[in-house]
């Protein structure tokens, strides 16, 4: 291993390189560009042997990746925001075809108004597309996730595409010291891609077919099971990863000082680092607060959430997202898990960071203060906006 000073995008590109993808198809969009620029450099200097396809749109990027995957090649693409929405038709297509493509998404706001900065409305709008969705917190996790994503997506029990999300700019463009593994270590971790779900001249197949009303639900049920089975495979991948690289990951969620916490904040992505600092500071003041970071949104960590929340007195979700006319999508998902588990404590939703607006440590502290007062409802941070426009 070697220490390198890398941005989130660059770290992810290293992870992809170590995974030896055979076909990379991508179209540039800020703030994703650096990951594909880096990969094209790797191809140019010979450190990555892959077909790099300069497609003319994001729709073609994912369509091309599906073509490659359909003949058994390991395929990678990356996008962001408008690009993700432009390729949206191909997302459920890849999932339904059970093509285990890996895609990095640089989380960015969606127009209108135009905005290139980070929020998570792009990926969360595609939560139901049948892809695994993971959210990295820092550059090291980005690299490690890139490598693990192929392992998880391609596992025969899963065979499901994988979207790895990095917060735009805050994570994609921020430089950190990253442990970069060797290719030998990576090869030990990740076997070459093997699948029966492919067209070959030895065993010709018709793929991507129609299935009418009688059969359709069977395929959809199996697709659902593939995502559910990813839960166990994620654990398996992380155990295997730790045995080779020595770094430990904690599955679908990461708990921080939650064991005895009365007040729990649930969030995802790079903002977790700041929340952790606030938790530490408030703990020093004797306040029993904790953080639960959602590392995966699909498969959804319902058991992990209920386990962490069970003893708490109140819980809040902090997310860079709004499902207009309702509430944050993460909040809806979390509440569903709590309701099913019979947990009936005050829960609230804090929506912030839209279009890259900064979330301050004071604002995070205020959430914990609100929790102690058993506050509920949906709140827009930084503008004093309430659920019903109050």
């Amino acid at each position: 291993m070697a220490k390198k000073f890398l941005s989130g995008n660059e770290a992810f590109a290293y992870g992809v390189r170590f995974a030896r993808p055979q076909v990379i198809s991508a179209y540039p969009i800020t703030p994703q560009t650096i990951v594909v620029e880096k990969l094209s450099e790797f191809v140019e200097n010979g450190s990555l042997k892959a077909e790099f396809i300069h497609v003319e749109s994001e729709h073609s990027a994912l369509s091309c990746a599906m073509g490659a995957s359909s003949v058994g090649a390991r395929a990678f693409t990356a996008t962001s925001s408008q690009g993700l929405l432009y390729m949206a038709e191909c997302l459920p297509y890849a999932a339904g075809g059970r093509f285990p493509i890996v895609m990095m998404n640089a989380n960015r706001s969606t127009a209108l108004p135009w905005n290139i900065y980070g929020d998570q409305r792009d990926s969360l709008s595609q939560l139901d597309s049948g892809w695994i969705q993971a959210y990295a917190e820092n550059a090291q996790e980005a690299l490690d996730l890139a490598l693990m994503s192929f392992y998880i997506a391609e596992h025969k029990n899963v065979s499901t595409p994988f979207m790895a999300n990095l917060d735009g700019f805050v994570l994609t463009h921020t430089y950190e010291v990253v442990d970069v593994p060797t290719q030998e270590q990576a090869d030990k971790f990740l076997p070459p891609f093997k699948t029966e779900n492919k067209m070959s001249f030895e065993e010709p197949k018709n793929l991507g077919f129609s299935a009418g009303p009688d059969n359709n639900i069977i395929f959809k049920y199996k697709e659902h099971l593939g995502l559910l089975k990813a839960k166990a495979v994620i654990k398996e991948a992380e155990t295997h990863f730790e045995s080779i690289f020595g770094r430990q990951y904690t599955g679908l969620t990461e708990s921080y000082r939650t064991e005895d916490a009365d007040y729990l904040l649930i969030t995802l992505g790079s903002i977790s680092g700041l929340v952790r600092e606030v938790v530490d500071r408030l703990r020093e003041e004797g306040r029993k607060v904790g953080l639960l970071r959602l590392r995966y949104l699909r498969p959804f960590p319902d058991e992990e959430i209920t386990a962490a929340v069970r003893k708490a007195k109140a819980v809040a979700v902090l997310e860079k997202d709004i499902s207009f006319g309702n509430e944050g999508t993460v909040y809806t998902n979390v509440n569903s898990a709590l309701h099913k588990a019979g947990i009936n404590i005050p829960s609230s939703d804090y929506i912030g960071g839209l279009g890259g607006k900064n979330i301050s440590d004071e604002e995070i502290e205020q959430i914990f203060t609100d929790l102690a007062q058993q506050r509920t409802g949906v709140h827009f941070i930084g503008i004093g906006g309430g659920q019903s426009g109050s």
Binding site: S57, S63, G67, N206
Partner: protein, 296 residues
Amino acid sequence: MAVNAKTLNETEFFYGHKACAGCGGSLAVRIALKVLGERTISVLPAGCMSAVGFNFPQLCFGNNAIISTFAGTASMLTGVEAGLRAQGITDFHAVGFAGDGGTADIGLQALSGAIDRNDDILYICYDNEAYMNTGIQKSSLTPFGARTTTTPAGKNIHGNLTQKKNMFEIVAAHDIPYAATASVGYINDFMRKVEKAASIRGTKYIHVLAPCPTGWGIKTDETVEVAKEVVDCGLWYLAEYENGRFTLNHKPEKFTDIKDYLKKQSRFRHLTDDDIEIIKTSRNTKWEYIQKNFNE
């Protein structure tokens, strides 16, 4: 050796499908696959051929085939070709079969991208001159005057008002290694072109006119005859583009009557003599251009 009726592969690669009787598109696909042979992967977008050939569990392609998104024929072909090549497999054909709407409208961007990259693929547009799978709606390859369900023929408007998009020359303008026009009415010419395209590296495009009895309003046993007649009356032509030059493959000595061609199809039956005069004038303009710019 040129493929002909005697040497054509006996094996069927596209059968058991539920295309309408007399379908010109399925004839083009069937014949092309016989020429290309077993080591072929077909990509077909949403459209007639995928709708009739891929209904689980009744899958009708004898060799590898996959449905792409409507806009994604060319881009998926690119991925198939690159994916196989990345695994060291090179002795195969990656062929796309897309209709006129899937090619000239929604799929044009991806096709242009593939030609720009010169990906080693063969793209065959089977042109039945409207969105037939969804029930005969106008595409940009619907000819002037044709009645479709979205260009109804009434007192005020006599069917489609636009001219057929010139896909052949649009594709050629990319400086593509090989492009050709064809018709299922001249099947030997079509087979020869598929065989030739298969021998060329880089992107190849064949635009084959394929009548649709259902959408054109002709009898189911008239497909081949009408596909001949459209060439004989000069409303379609058989040509190739290669090495920067256009070649005309077939020059009718004297055009047959346009009116006969049009009036036997219910989609054109409403046309007035004035309408037919417009069609004749545009045919003549086209042929002046062909005679000036194409080799013979």
